[in-house]
Every structure is written in structure tokens, then in C-alpha cells.
């Protein structure tokens, strides 16, 4: 009773992160499915489309070798997108189970249930991206980033994952069922296609091209590409980080509001 008013956000979050990591280990089919998707797309685009598309992306050699360097940023974003799809599913599983009611009636740091999901998913996203980059390296990906470039890259990817995870923690809470939760973040999977992820935006027709140039994933992918290839990033980095900050803030406020609702 004496400790009624004090909460332990760090300790409670750690407990929740541990819970979420254990759940990922216990439910490996989901994790495997979430990593398999970007790897399949990587292989599909490199080996099936890469020979032709590579000619369109320019560069000295063209072809498949050039194309893989061009499209890895998109695959990394798709990896984050599939990971957060898993986040939405596990949040929805929590909400449909009675366990969340238990947490809500306990005197624990309120936000820890959500931060548990967020940090757990960030860890999962980075592990998945490491696997995807590993596969890409095996099939000919040749990044030219410096050590500082890699650090910056990790920072950008963390910002993107952080933003999208918070957004899907909110989305996961809005869905009435686990099935609905698994399909709601689908558009995130497609945004890299409707941007500069797989082909340069100047090859697209008018309206689509306008969308592709201004949607948030394009500056993000341009920044990642520039960092990987050790090219100057220019304004894209700041535009990308601003988008991430905005999405993260929106997702955080929305997720907290949904979690604290009392109707």
C-alpha cells in the first residue's frame, strides 16, 4: 500500500519486453512468416525482374548487380512493415484476451504494456533486417557505406521502425479481431512500391508520380539508399526524420488514448 502512488515505468517495461520476446520465441511461425515475406520479395525482384529493371535505374553497369543495390532500401522498409504487422497482431491478441484487463487493473506504469510491445517489436525488426541484409549480401549486394554511414543508417531505420511500431500499436487496439489486425497495416507494405522503392519515380505517370514523390516512404528510402551507397543525402534525411517524428507522435498519442479509454 505504501508504494501505491509510485510507479516503476522502467522495471515494468522491462518485464513487458521480456514477456513479448518470450511470446515471439513461443510463436515462431509468425516470426518466420514475417521474415520470409521480404526475403521472397528480394529474391523475386533480383532474379525475376532485376535483369530488366536494372537497366532502368541507371548507373555504370546496369543489370541485376546494379538493381540489388537500388532496391535493398525498399526491402528494408518492407521488413519493417511486416514486423509491425506482427505488432498489430500481437497487440490485438492481447486486447481480445483477458490479460489486458488484468494489466489495466494493476498498479503498474500504464504505458509499460505498450512500451513492451514497442521495444519487443524494435528488437524483432532489427533482427529481421539483419537477416535480410545478410541474404542480400550473399546474392550480390555491395554497400559502400562508411562506418559513420552505417551508424546513421541504424539511426534512420530505428526512427522509421519506432514511428511505424507506435502507429500499429494504435491500429492493433482499434481492430475488433486478430484477423482484422493482420490486414490493417497492409498499406504499409505497398507504400514502397508506390514510391522510389523499386523503380525511379520519374518513370511513373502524372498523378501517381506526384504521390510517389511526396509520400513519406520516398524520402526515407532515398536517405537509406544514399547512406548505403555513400552518396550525399541532401534534404531527404531531414524530410524523412520529420515524417518519422510526426508519425511516431501521432501513433503514440493515439495508442495511449486508446489504451486509457474508459468507456
Amino acid at each position: 500500500m505504501n508504494a501505491a502512488a509510485t510507479t516503476h515505468p522502467l522495471r515494468d517495461s522491462t518485464t513487458m519486453v521480456r514477456r513479448n520476446l518470450k511470446r515471439m520465441v513461443r510463436y515462431p511461425s509468425m516470426t518466420v512468416q514475417l521474415i520470409a515475406m521480404p526475403i521472397l520479395l528480394l529474391l523475386l525482384f533480383v532474379y525475376v525482374f532485376g535483369g530488366t529493371l536494372g537497366a532502368g535505374v541507371g548507373g555504370p553497369s546496369g543489370g541485376r548487380a546494379e538493381y540489388i543495390n537500388y532496391m535493398v532500401p525498399a526491402i528494408l522498409l518492407i521488413t519493417i512493415a511486416t514486423t509491425v504487422q506482427g505488432t498489430a497482431v500481437s497487440v490485438a491478441m492481447d486486447m481480445t484476451d483477458g490479460i489486458i484487463a488484468r494489466f489495466r487493473t494493476m498498479n503498474i506504469a500504464r504505458v509499460s504494456v505498450l512500451t513492451g510491445h514497442v521495444i519487443g517489436s524494435l528488437i524483432q525488426a532489427f533482427l529481421s533486417m539483419a537477416v535480410v541484409i545478410g541474404v542480400a549480401l550473399l546474392i550480390g549486394f555491395e554497400p559502400r557505406a562508411s562506418f559513420g554511414g552505417w551508424l546513421a543508417l541504424v539511426g534512420v531505420l530505428a526512427a522509421v521502425a519506432f514511428a511505424l511500431v507506435w502507429l500499429t500499436v494504435a491500429i492493433g487496439q482499434t481492430s475488433q479481431s486478430v484477423e482484422a489486425a493482420s490486414s490493417l497495416p497492409m498499406p504499409l507494405m505497398f507504400l514502397p512500391f508506390l514510391g522510389s522503392g523499386f523503380v525511379p519515380t520519374d518513370s511513373m505517370p502524372g498523378g501517381l508520380r506526384w504521390f510517389a514523390e511526396y509520400q513519406p516512404f520516398t524520402p526515407i528510402m532515398e536517405s537509406i539508399r544514399a547512406l548505403l551507397m555513400d552518396n550525399p543525402v541532401g534534404d531527404d534525411l531531414w524530410i524523412a526524420l520529420t515524417w518519422c517524428a510526426g508519425i511516431a507522435l501521432l501513433g503514440y498519442v493515439w495508442a495511449k488514448k486508446l489504451y486509457n479509454r474508459k468507456t
Binding site: D12, T15, F103, M106
Partner: protein, 319 residues
């Protein structure tokens, strides 16, 4: 509402509506410390809503509620620190083992490593889960899962425990196991707020019972007091033919509570020779063929049926 310090739960004028549907329409309750209070009602009467408000899950639209001396609206964290809730739907993590579930609760209650180990082992032992401790909760039977659920609630040593239909869906043996645990808890000085739709359960456990009907309390008292509100018991008439059942229903319609599926009629009756004869004469007069007849002394079922309309909108016995 005399001495607030002695009351574990005190509620006055509690109201809740969802949209234009009023679920709780001014509830008043007082539960002294160290007692079992049972809220009895049919599905949809507002039992779960009451528990949700008292356990800080949802906010009331009006009225006041204090749990363990703290206002649920203005000081929810202090309420949460004092309560444990076991809801109708199991609140265990199915992907974790029983032991991991309990350890998680120990961590969330900020126990030291040593206490965590002892508490987890104690509870596994007490709830007969030691053997299944390392298996995922998803593999547990309904009874085991409910025991784990209760054990998780107890990790934090709550002083007030809410049990929302704790035995719904359990087999009779598991149900008795839960009852035994509840009795032991109260012996330790814990206050229990129990909702149930089983009268037997309320009769068995509760010090005081309140009957909830359409968001209002229609009766409150000890099991004995409630039973006294019904002057006598009832006679159960069992028919073999629907025709006989229907005629009897028409003849006795004013007083009888009927169960059409079972072709049974429940007629209030004090069991005296005189009133039994009067009933038999009426049946005989209409030449109604009764299969079997049995005399029942009053139990809480009679109280419940007398005080509430049942879900099929059948005849309500008034009085």
C-alpha cells in the same frame, strides 16, 4: 454507510449507460471488510459492468464508489494497488507457462528475486499446478486455467478481490475447488466481491447477497433473509404431454413459472397439506394429467425467480 474505515467497498448512486442503454441505474452497496459479497443476476443484468467500474476499468456516469478507502474515479492507482481481479474470461498469457505467468505477476508487483521464487512456488503448490508449471497455459484445462488465473491475482496479496463469475464453464469438481480457495482467502481477512448467476454458489459462499435486475438492486440481505421473503416453497409439476402442460399453464397461469422445454411448471406453495390439496383439486377439476409432482422447500432459486423476470420474458411471480 456508517464507518467508512470498516467498509472494503462502498458504493452510492452508481450509474452507467452505454449510449442510450442504461446498464446501471443507481446502485448502492456496502461491503464490510473480510466478508464475501455476492452480486447475483442473470446475463446482462449489469454484474460485469459493476465489477469493471469498481476495478477501475471503466468510468461510471454518476454516483460514487470507494474501494479499500479510495475513490475509484479520483485515485484509481491506490485502488489498483489494493485489488485483484479475476474476470469472466481468463486473464492468463496462453503462450507463457504457468510458472512464467506467475513470475511475470511477481515482477509487476515488484517483488525481490527471492520473494518471487518463494511466492511462485507457494502458489503453484497451493493451486495444484506444480506438475504443469513448465507447460504453456494454452495446454491447460478450463479448471487449471481458472486456478492459474486466481493464483496470478493473488501474487500481489490483494485486500479486495473481485471474482466475476469465477466458476462459469467449470465442471462441478473444479467449481468446488474454486469455492474452497475462496473460503480460505476470506479466512485470511480478504474481502471478496463475487458475481455469479448460480444461486447455489451465492448460497454456499456469500455473507450477503444482492440481486441485480436490469441495473437495479431488487433485494439485498443474507441468504436466510432473502429466503424468508418467499413465504413458502414450491411444487414442481412434470408433464408427459404438451397438451396437459398447456392446460395446466392456463389454469395456474397466474402463479406458475413455466419451463416449456422441460414441460415443467413451478407453482409457489408452502407445502402444507391444505394448500397441496387445493392445488391437486384444481388440477383434478380440469382433468389434467400430471406425470410427477414434487414438493420443494424454498431455496435461493425461488427468491431469484420471484425477484427477477427471467430471460425468456416469462411470467414473473410478483411478491
Amino acid at each position: 454507510m456508517n464507518n467508512a474505515a470498516q467498509l472494503a467497498i462502498s458504493v452510492s448512486g452508481l450509474r452507467k449507460s452505454f449510449g442510450d442503454k442504461t446498464v446501471l441505474d443507481g446502485i448502492d452497496l456496502n461491503v464490510p471488510q473480510g466478508t464475501i459479497f455476492s452480486l447475483l443476476g442473470a446475463n446482462g443484468a449489469g454484474k460485469t459492468t459493476t465489477v469493471k467500474i469498481l476495478s477501475t476499468l471503466i468510468a461510471a456516469n454518476g454516483g460514487r464508489a470507494e474501494v479499500a478507502g479510495h475513490d475509484v474515479a479520483s485515485d484509481p492507482d491506490s485502488v489498483r494497488a489494493a485489488i485483484g481481479v479475476t474476470g469472466q474470461f481468463s486473464a492468463v498469457d496462453n503462450l507463457l507457462t504457468g510458472e512464467e505467468n506467475l513470475r511475470m505477476m511477481a515482477d509487476l508487483n515488484h517483488l525481490s528475486k527471492k520473494d518471487r521464487k518463494r511466492r511462485t512456488a507457494d502458489l503453484l503448490e497451493r493451486f495444484d499446478l506444480t506438475e504443469a508449471a513448465r507447460k504453456p497455459a494454452s495446454t491447460y484445462s478450463g479448471g487449471m486455467r481458472r486456478r492459474l488465473d486466481l493464483a496470478m491475482t493473488l501474487v500481489g496479496n490483494p485486500r479486495v478481490i473481485f471474482l466475476d463469475e469465477p466458476t462459469t464453464g467449470l465442471d462441478p469438481r473444479s467449481r468446488r475447488g474454486v469455492w474452497q480457495i475462496v473460503r480460505e482467502l476470506v479466512a485470511d481477512g480478504v474481502t471478496i466481491f463475487l458475481t455469479t448467476q448460480y444461486l447455489e454458489e451465492a448460497d454456499e459462499l456469500a455473507d450477503r447477497i444482492a440481486v441485480l435486475e436490469d441495473g437495479r438492486l431488487v433485494a439485498e440481505g443474507t441468504a436466510e433473509q432473502l429466503k424468508r421473503r418467499i413465504p413458502g416453497g414450491h411444487v414442481l409439476l412434470q408433464f408427459s404431454e404438451p397438451s396437459g402442460f398447456q392446460t395446466a399453464q392456463r389454469v395456474l397461469g397466474q402463479d406458475a413459472h413455466s419451463d416449456g422445454d422441460a414441460l415443467a411448471l413451478r407453482v409457489p406453495n408452502d407445502g402444507s397439506l391444505h394448500s397441496l390439496k387445493a392445488l391437486l383439486d384444481r388440477l383434478d377439476h380440469e382433468s389434467i394429467d400430471v406425470d410427477t409432482l414434487s414438493v420443494h422447500t424454498p431455496d435461493l432459486d425461488d427468491v431469484f425467480l420471484a425477484l427477477t423476470g427471467d430471460s425468456d420474458n416469462e411470467k414473473v411471480i410478483d411478491r
